[in-house]
């Protein structure tokens, strides 16, 4: 297979990639647990599971099953067979990203493991787009998963403890998301990606991820606006991953101080995912929060012509049980991608 790469591929400013051949999002799949199904975004999921165990022996096995199903469903929706997929890129929150690695065993395609905590989704979209834009592949699948119970027992306390959660805590989404990206196809298209730096403002509380991640999100968004010379008004929607009710206002404030007012067009998947009545405190989190927000909500609303230009920024808190127990702070990262119904978009 020989592919011709473009002569116009470029890097903008400090951290933004502009794809000369913007990859098309040809299919997307989002699978959610029962609580996600009852939330405001419930109708955007392709499939809602009956319980959080999916008939498996452990929550970890259930999470693997969610990711396998999302990848399988997205591939089917694209009208493709597994063998048509050149490369799979996936990651998740668990130690050594076992959900992705065990799912990759079943998926059985050349595989890249990525990790950026809940920002894994946009890191995967970026690297998948590189493979396509560079002419190395026709078809790439990007996937992520997360699970409330696997995440709680790894990062905080096993859910059986029934420990009290403070108001700043977020609720990890149980679910998985996958998209099929291709060199050719009806859009929407991934036109740009802005790669984040690790930012750490000293927050140490694993029950307050929103405050920890907000500065990283603001840093990446500021770089995006500077690199592209676009103002927030260019976008119909600036959607973040899982800053939730505590983090989004901080990101909005930080950006306002830098001259970028995103308050009238920004929203967060962690706020959209659950109803306040669902007792999730600050909102949702998890790699599948960003993933299903993108694969479910954004892709659907773009197909319905309700959105044309979206700046999507997944946000990740890069703590581990070990670093937390050793009293370390929480380094964070945010990676942004631009999704547009038109390939070219407006010239910078």
């Amino acid at each position: 297979m020989t592919r011709v790469a473009s002569a116009q591929t470029k890097k903008l400013g400090t951290a933004t990639l502009k794809f000369a051949n913007p990859p098309a999002v040809v299919a997307a799949a989002a699978i959610g647990g029962p609580m996600e199904g009852r939330g405001p975004l419930g109708g955007y999921f392709d499939r809602i599971t009956e319980d959080r165990l999916l008939g498996q022996k452990s929550w970890e096995q259930a999470e693997i099953k969610l990711l396998e199903s999302a990848v399988e469903l997205a591939t089917q929706k694209a009208g493709l067979k597994p063998a048509d997929v050149d490369f799979v890129l996936a990651g998740d929150l668990l130690n050594q990203t076992i959900s992705a690695n065990f799912a990759a065993r079943t998926i059985d395609r050349p595989f890249f493991g990525v990790f950026a905590a809940c920002a894994t989704w946009t890191e995967g979209l970026t690297l998948g787009s590189l493979l396509l834009d560079g002419g190395f592949a026709d078809t790439v699948v990007v996937g992520v998963s997360s699970h409330h119970d696997t995440a709680e027992r790894q990062y905080r306390f096993p859910t059986e403890f029934g420990n009290q959660r403070p108001p700043t805590a977020q609720w990890t989404v149980t679910g998985a998301a996958a998209v099929v990206l291709r060199r050719e196809g009806r859009g929407p298209y991934i036109t740009h990606a802005t790669i984040g730096r690790v930012v750490d403002m000293g927050i140490k509380n694993p029950f307050d991820m929103g405050s920890a991640m907000a500065p990283a999100a603001a840093d990446t968004l500021q770089r995006h606006f500077e690199d592209t010379a676009r103002m927030p008004e260019y976008y119909d929607l600036i959607l973040t991953g899982d800053l939730a009710r505590v983090g989004l206002p901080i990101t909005q404030d930080l950006l306002k101080q830098k001259g970028y007012d995103i308050s009238d067009r920004s929203q967060d998947c962690g706020i959209l995912m659950f109803d306040p009545g669902q007792d999730v405190h600050a909102g949702a989190s998890g790699a599948a929060c960003s993933g299903s927000g993108f694969a479910g909500f954004v892709v659907t609303e773009m197909a319905r012509h309700n959105l044309a230009r979206v700046l999507f920024t997944a946000t990740g808190a890069l703590l581990s049980p070990t670093s937390y127990q050793q009293g370390e702070s929480i380094p964070c990262i945010a990676h942004a991608v631009v999704v547009e119904t038109e390939k070219g978009g407006e010239e910078e």
Copy 2:
């Protein structure tokens, strides 16, 4: 910054990328602990630390320091400032790859986190090469780290336990490695990459990684030979990451069954790293085993004109403490890159 990408970039066969603009390895740095310094490869390290704690409070902090130092040293050796680096790609073995993420906080450049256990090194080299070949960057740094004591207490038992290790056990390398890849520069060059699939033959023993990883290494090498239509004889050296004394003969046997005899030109970093008298049982392992084998031994021997064409395959065991405790088997992966002193190599 506008870069012209080539029109000849392509994918070969099922899983091999051929770079149209092979990135140059312009500088490399390898840092090892005291035991690595006393081993047969000791002379290939740029720096040997006095102890495994490096003056830090914890082994985890020592590992972060190792990675930071390797990235800093490689950048210096390339005659570059940190700000000259467009992107950093790094990973390690710890839960949520904290060594890489905490080091990235200090390094402060746009950052991609990658995870493929001990195969992280070649996954990073591949993705870094994509960024350069695609015209998205001039300069990329790829880094990995591992540490005997952080790995033992995470995957098996804290070293203070003094538990007995079976003969199949490997000793995780304490160290870090980094290379600077650039679009322009004297070689050697990364000319190809073959991306592995996850292979799991049912091995469950975390004290026998060599047997678990050998089939994944054989699978990737077989694909490489098929995809490129090259025979093993094309290469001066076929070097694997950390199959060690148990795994390498298995990989050699599996490939012989497929018609590829690599026995007269294959070697393993896990065998080269330590002397049998160092009491490491089957040999070395760890992301820094592959990394320093490449950044120290391979790069140096290519500069000395003792090697011209090397097929380098890092091998990763994708287990986690959680999956092991739940009785799961060990999925494995291997990613290969070709390093050649000549950009073009021989036509396939």
